[in-house]
C-alpha cells in the first residue's frame, strides 16, 4: 500500500502550491507502468485530504499508456506491463511513456472583490 504514502505526498504538494486557498480540483497524470493503482489513490485521497485545504476537492486521474521503443528495429509498441517483446522478437525495450507520476494541475477557489 505505498499509495497511502504517495497520496500523503500529493496532498502535501498541492497544499504547498494552493496559495492558502481552497482546492477545488486536482488533476494527476499516472502512467500505466508506474506501479501505482489509480483506484487506490482515489481510495486514499479523501482520507488524506480531510482537515486540509484539499478536503472536498475533486480528484481526476489521467492514465498515460505504456509505450516502449524497441532497441533493434526502433518500432514503438504499447505495453500493459513494464516489459514485453517486440514483434521482431527482441526484449530490449526502452520505455518512453507510462512511468509518469505527476500532479498536472490544480484548481483553486478565488474570491473576487
Amino acid at each position: 500500500m505505498h499509495e497511502l504514502g504517495i497520496t500523503q505526498n500529493i496532498i502535501a504538494i498541492v497544499s504547498e502550491n494552493a496559495q492558502g486557498k481552497k482546492v477545488q480540483r486536482v488533476l494527476l497524470e499516472i502512467g500505466k507502468l508506474s506501479a501505482i493503482i489509480p483506484d487506490a489513490i482515489y481510495f486514499c485521497f479523501d482520507i488524506c485530504a480531510k482537515g486540509t485545504i484539499v478536503e472536498g476537492a475533486i480528484l481526476e486521474i489521467m492514465e498515460i499508456p505504456g509505450i516502449a521503443k524497441c532497441h533493434y528495429c526502433n518500432e514503438e509498441i504499447y505495453l500493459e506491463k513494464p516489459f514485453g517483446r517486440c514483434e521482431c522478437g527482441n526484449t530490449h525495450l526502452e520505455l518512453i511513456s507510462g512511468e509518469e507520476l505527476k500532479i498536472k494541475e490544480i484548481e483553486i477557489e478565488e474570491l473576487c472583490v
Partner: protein, 271 residues
C-alpha cells in the same frame, strides 16, 4: 480590478444599461510594442462578488522530494567513497543470513556497515551486531518501504567510515521498495528457491529496477519445484541487463562469485 482579465480598474470606462441592469467594462492595454488593444466584458454587477476558480499548472513529479534527497545521499556517499547497496526481497528470502555471512567472511577486506529496515523489532539489527559491525535499525511502523529521508537520517546516525560499504536491508516486500530511490549505487533483489520461479514476472517493477538478482537457498533445489533456468529466463524477460548469482549461504555455495562482484563494485566506487 477586473475579475475577468485581471487588468486595473483605474482607466476603465463603465457603460451601464439600466434596462438590462448590465454593466460593460472597457479596458485598454498597451503592449510592449506600443499597440493599444481595447476590449470589453459584459456582465451584471453582482458577478464581481462571485467565486471562480483558477487553474495552476504544476507539472510536479510526486516523488520529486524523495528523488532530491536520494540525489543528496548519493552525493554524500560518493564524496566519502562509500558503496551503498539496496537489498530487497520478500520476507524470509534470506537477506539477513546472506548479510551476516558476507560481513563475517569479508571482515579482513571490507568495512561493512548496515542499515536495517523492518516494520517492527530490532531483531535483525541485533543479529547483524553480533558480527561486530556498525548497524542501525529503522522501524517503519506501518510503512512498507524505506525512503530517501530515512536513509539520510540513518546515515547520520550510522556515520560510516570513508572507503567502506553500506548495506541497506530494505523492508521485506517485492512491490513498494522498487519505487523509492534511496541514493544507492545498485539495487540487489534476493529470491529464494522456496518461492515461485515466476516472481520476476509477477513483480516486474522490482526486477526491472535491480542490477543483480541473487537466488538463495539453492541447496534446497532437490526438495522444491523450482527451475532456476526458468526463473532466470523470466528475470531476463523483464530486465535483459540483470546479472544473476546462485548461492547457498549455509552450504557456502556460490559465495566467492558474490564476493568478487562486491569487490569489483567497491573497486569501481572506491578509487
Amino acid at each position: 480590478m477586473c475579475v475577468t482579465c485581471g487588468c486595473s480598474d483605474s482607466e476603465e470606462t463603465k457603460i451601464t444599461n439600466l434596462e438590462k441592469n448590465q454593466v460593460a467594462h472597457y479596458h485598454s492595454h498597451t503592449l510592449a510594442d506600443g499597440t493599444v488593444i481595447r476590449h470589453a466584458h459584459e456582465e451584471t454587477p453582482h458577478l464581481h462578488a462571485k467565486i471562480h476558480n483558477t487553474t495552476i499548472n504544476l507539472e510536479q513529479d510526486i516523488l520529486a522530494k524523495n528523488n532530491l534527497i536520494a540525489a543528496q545521499n548519493r552525493g554524500w556517499l560518493n564524496e566519502h567513497n562509500i558503496l551503498a547497496l539496496n537489498l530487497m526481497s520478500s520476507p524470509g528470502a534470506g537477506k539477513t543470513t546472506l548479510l551476516t555471512r558476507t560481513i563475517n567472511d569479508l571482515k579482513q577486506q571490507l568495512t561493512i556497515s548496515v542499515i536495517e529496515g523492518d516494520q517492527e523489532t530490532a531483531n535483525d539489527a541485533e543479529k547483524i551486531q553480533q558480527t561486530g559491525c556498525k548497524v542501525i535499525q529503522i522501524n517503519t511502523g506501518t510503512g512498507c518501504h524505506l525512503d530517501a529521508s530515512m536513509i539520510e537520517r540513518g546515515l547520520k546516525q550510522l556515520n560510516p567510515p570513508l572507503n567502506s560499504v553500506v548495506m541497506i536491508e530494505n523492508v521485506g516486500n517485492l512491490v513498494c521498495p522498487a519505487l523509492f530511490d534511496l541514493g544507492e549505487q545498485a539495487k540487489v533483489v534476493i529470491l529464494s528457491v522456496t518461492e515461485g520461479e515466476d516472481k520476476p514476472v509477477k513483480y516486474p517493477h522490482m526486477f526491472r529496477a535491480s542490477q543483480m538478482m541473487i537466488l538463495t537457498k539453492i541447496d534446497l533445489l532437490p526438495y522444491v519445484q523450482f527451475d532456476p533456468q526458468k526463473c532466470i529466463a523470466y528475470a531476463k524477460q523483464v530486465n535483459p541487463e540483470i546479472e544473476v548469482l546462485q548461492v547457498s549461504v549455509t552450504m557456502g555455495i556460490g559465495l566467492a562469485t558474490w564476493y568478487s562482484w562486491l569487490n569489483r563494485k567497491v573497486g569501481n566506487s572506491v578509487l
